[in-house]
């Protein structure tokens, strides 16, 4: 069967059934964040050609934009290209911005369109259906817990319980940085973009939901799965535990 080029926004969503089975009753409709205070002023300055205002948002927003672009395209270089193209579109299009969302949400919307188009041109495909195994199932190896029927069923088995990483883990060395960077690159696309925006980029949950068109519950599922995998990689590094 040929691999379909899925609409990436649709691929962003875990089905309602999957979501509801995990988080009954917490599937909330995404509300785009309201225009930030100062947005009107910022827009006015950009329209008036204020170079400092433009330089400020380019520097402040481009790192998160690269993460988002990288979700749609196949390489870092290609993601940079999409971000540059987006800023050029913003320069030309700021007069047409109607202020129905925050400026930032609008810029990310422009970026998504540009990067998605670029991804299609590169024939980058989503290899799995929107509901895939990587977004379901336990995040910790079930063999580490006592089996059903045991007096302490579901508790950590003594020999498999997490152990302290020791003082070494307190300081982030270059080896750990390299390990985390490599582990991020290996995450499934949706998990990677969510954890990059939340934990690397420090964006608030609501903004990540708006940018990626995710429900808050789905955003947390993807974030948790990504965090659990990276924790496991660090555990392997600090304690020498075999990776499953």
């Amino acid at each position: 069967m040929p691999v379909a080029v899925l609409e990436r926004t649709a691929a962003c969503d875990i089905t309602a059934a999957d979501r509801d089975s995990r988080h009954p009753g917490v599937g909330v409709k995404v509300q785009p964040p309201p225009a930030a205070p100062g947005d009107t002023d910022l827009v006015a300055r950009l329209r008036a050609g204020d170079a400092a205002a433009f330089a400020h948002i380019v520097r402040a927003w481009s790192p998160a934009m690269i993460h988002v672009a990288r979700y749609f395209v196949g390489s870092h270089a290609s993601a940079e290209e999409a971000v540059q193209e987006t800023w050029l579109a913003v320069i030309r299009g700021i007069d047409g911005f109607e202020g129905r969302s925050s400026l930032r949400t609008w810029v990310f919307h422009v970026l998504s369109n540009i990067a998605r188009r670029q991804g299609v041109k590169e024939s980058r495909t989503v290899l799995s259906s929107p509901v895939d195994g990587e977004d379901a199932g336990p995040t910790v190896d079930p063999a580490r817990f006592r089996p059903a029927g045991d007096q302490w069923a579901g508790g950590w088995r003594a020999e498999a319980a997490p152990r302290s990483w020791g003082p070494e883990a307190a300081a982030l060395n270059s080896e750990v940085r390299a390990l985390l960077t490599a582990a991020l690159a290996q995450l499934p696309d949706r998990q990677r973009v969510v954890i990059e925006l939340r934990d690397v980029g420090g964006l608030p949950a609501g903004e990540v939901c708006a940018i990626l068109d995710l429900s808050p519950a789905n955003q947390r599922v993807l974030l948790h799965r990504a965090r659990a995998k990276l924790r496991e990689r660090l555990e392997g590094y600090f304690t020498g535990r075999e990776q499953g």
């Binding site: 520097r59 800023w87 995040t139 069923a153 948790h224």
Partner: protein, 84 residues
């Protein structure tokens, strides 16, 4: 009032929701009760936090200086008043 215990295997799946404050108060209380008497799950939670902190200190990838300079020049060109 007794709180129905939550096994470790379930606790580890709820910790991001717990950290995000996304759990209902009853479930959150069950996690608190579990953590109060389960050192391995406390260790797991701490390690999850360490992971998040470590990610936050990774260097940000951004546009190259030359790309930013090009954009600033493009912005200047766009807003330069037409010569009269």
């Amino acid at each position: 009032m007794t709180i129905e215990p939550l096994p470790c295997v379930d606790v580890v799946e709820l910790l991001t929701d717990y950290l995000e404050g996304a759990l209902d108060p009853a479930t959150s209380a069950r996690i608190d009760a579990h953590l109060a008497q389960c050192p391995p799950c406390v260790t797991y939670l701490e390690q999850l936090r360490t992971t998040v902190n470590d990610l936050g200190s990774l260097p940000a990838q951004t546009l190259s200086d030359s790309a930013i300079a090009e954009l600033e020049a493009a912005f200047g060109d766009f807003h330069r008043p037409p010569a009269s």
